[in-house]
């Protein structure tokens, strides 16, 4: 009898989900559109040309000629009055004032300006007669897995698992509480843990569809690799989904209105959208913030997904991250069971 109730509860949860076109959009279509948009916007198109200005005056034409011969540089003459403004607006990364001393004018906080300085200096010195003691040979790497889309996709997957886990569980529970439906259910002999199990089971079915669709789409359209095993990816995703289902349950354990639960959801998810390395690496945050950033469940999930997909990591390698996520999930479930109100 027990298993029948869990089965019916999860079946009804699935039916309610597929009958909600908005939910289907946000879970399946939206991540694909986001991947498509970001993949196109940040597609690999080779390095941007370095924009260099040569200030008009004595020696300018020789310097222009020398620099135009260098590949990867885009050189233009610039009037002395205009140089400062163009530097400030980023229309030029570097301005050269020819003469002796040779003057390089740039913003030292911009990495591309520093690179331009080295390039331009070398070219002008060679034009002035410098001999390089070593000859140079260039090798380039063009490997799948090192592009932005390859970094991005596991993060989007993690973010999607977070969003659907929390909304999918939290929203439907608060909705049922608002409608007095939870109260009606506890008026039956239904076991409370069966209800929660049904919610999770109903969620789990779509999990694999959701992960499969996104990973498949990215592989087909952008050639994003899946280097680890499918089973490891499934396991990591399942742990992640259950972690956020637990957090969804916790957030929904007392809330009585959709507005209330939405506010709580956003308060939980917003910091992780920014901090957890979905769109850019967590290494960008200062060292002082790292303990916090690394302890977040989405950071752990994103790192584990990236490890499996891009580096081909085994479950043993990503175990610490999976452990962090599972610990969050377990704590959230325990808290939710303690706090949960049925009416």
């Amino acid at each position: 009898m027990r298993s029948r109730a869990v089965w019916q509860l999860s079946l009804c949860k699935m039916r309610e989900f597929v009958r909600e076109p908005e939910a289907v959009f946000w879970v399946f279509i939206f991540p694909i559109l986001l991947t498509l948009a970001l993949g196109v916007a940040f597609r690999s198109k080779g390095p941007d040309p370095i924009l260099v200005g040569v200030q008009e005056g004595e020696g300018a034409s020789q310097a222009l000629a020398a620099l135009q011969a260098v590949p990867g540089l885009e050189v233009e003459p610039v009037a002395p009055e205009a140089a400062r403004q163009k530097l400030r607006e980023g229309k030029l990364t570097l301005v050269v004032i020819p003469g002796d001393p040779l003057v390089f004018w740039f913003d030292p906080t911009r990495p591309e300006s520093r690179a331009a300085r080295l390039e331009v200096n070398g070219a002008l010195q060679r034009a002035a007669g410098r001999e390089d003691p070593l000859s140079v040979e260039i090798r380039e790497i063009h490997e799948r897995g090192s592009r932005y889309i390859d970094f991005l996709l596991p993060g989007l997957l993690g973010m999607n698992l977070m969003g659907t886990g929390m909304w999918g569980i939290g929203f439907s529970i608060v909705n049922a509480r608002m409608r007095n439906l939870l109260k009606r259910l506890v008026a039956t002999p239904m076991r409370k843990r069966d209800y929660l199990a049904g919610q999770l089971a109903g969620r789990a079915v779509f999990l694999f569809l959701e992960v499969g669709v996104l990973v498949g789409f990215a592989a087909l359209v952008f050639g994003v690799p899946l280097r680890g095993s499918l089973l490891t990816l499934a396991l990591v995703s399942a742990v992640g989904a259950m972690t956020f289902a637990g957090l969804g349950l916790l957030v929904a354990s007392r809330a009585r209105t959709i507005e209330g639960v939405s506010g709580l959801m956003n308060a939980v998810m917003l910091p992780m959208w920014i901090l957890s390395g979905t769109f850019f690496s967590t290494a960008r945050f200062p060292d002082a913030m790292q303990p916090l950033v690394q302890a977040l469940p989405l950071t752990a999930l994103n790192d584990a997904l990236r490890g499996v997909m891009i580096d081909g990591a085994s479950l043993a390698v990503v175990a610490p991250e999976v452990g962090i996520a599972a610990a969050w999930g377990g704590a959230a479930f325990a808290g939710a069971l303690y706090l949960f109100r049925w009416r």
Partner: protein, 304 residues
Amino acid sequence: MLALRCRRLTKRYGRLLAVDGIDLDIRAGECFGLLGPNGAGKTTTVEIFEGLLPADAGSVEVLGMSWDRDERRIRERIGIQLQETQLAEKLSVIETLILFRSFYARGHDPEQVLRMVGLQEKRKAWVRKLSGGQRQRLSVACALVSDPDVLFFDEPTTGLDPQSRRQLWEILSSFHEQGKTVLLTTHYMEEAERLCDRVAVIDHGRIIALDTPARLIASLGAEHVVEFQSECPADLDAIRRLPGVGAARAEDGVVSLTVAEVHHALPALLAELERQRVRMTSLATHHASLEDVFVALTGRHLRD
């Protein structure tokens, strides 16, 4: 055999005493009504009976079992219809019933319950496509699907149109005719008179009268009520002394009298008003009802 027994039941919300020491015995096979105005404590009382609210003091036994020890055994044997439950909008009627059936060890076939409540044509319709009356019948079906011994219905017909109300009454009656117990709360006197074997009139968390509807009405000492309005106030003492007039009260400009026989009391009343030189502006008579019992007991109307 008692279906329900409670003693000195008390529930307090802050300073409000919602249930004030209620004692009640409901016999198995009885259709019992809790009648009272909104806020009288009916729903609180019933939810304590249903094991959904803890009482502050007092004891409740359902089918001889207590909620502390036998919660699941009680839940297997009772059916509940709550006030204002909205079932999942995007599940169909039959899916909803199958879901509820899955919670119980034994019960009816969901298809059979659909026929019992007359929803077989709506079998595959989503809940959100149902009318108010159909939703209410589905809610009743969810309570019936476990083939319960006791049904708790909290204001099942509030807000329904007359036809839907009659359909629900028929469902309840046929359940009751199988020898099962029904506990019903309502603020419709007609509903209580029609369905209930016994009625407890409840006000401010106390039972102020308990008997069969017929005997409660008989306790008024008169079977009819005459109500009239007049241009200027009439002398009520003189009217009370008229032959066959039981009681007279004035409220909001309406004077109502309980009378044994309208055909004797009315000519006397008209003659008396003529003598007092009071001109009537309206006159109506009806059979005495539980509403009049409530008015006689509390001085207020049920709908107030």
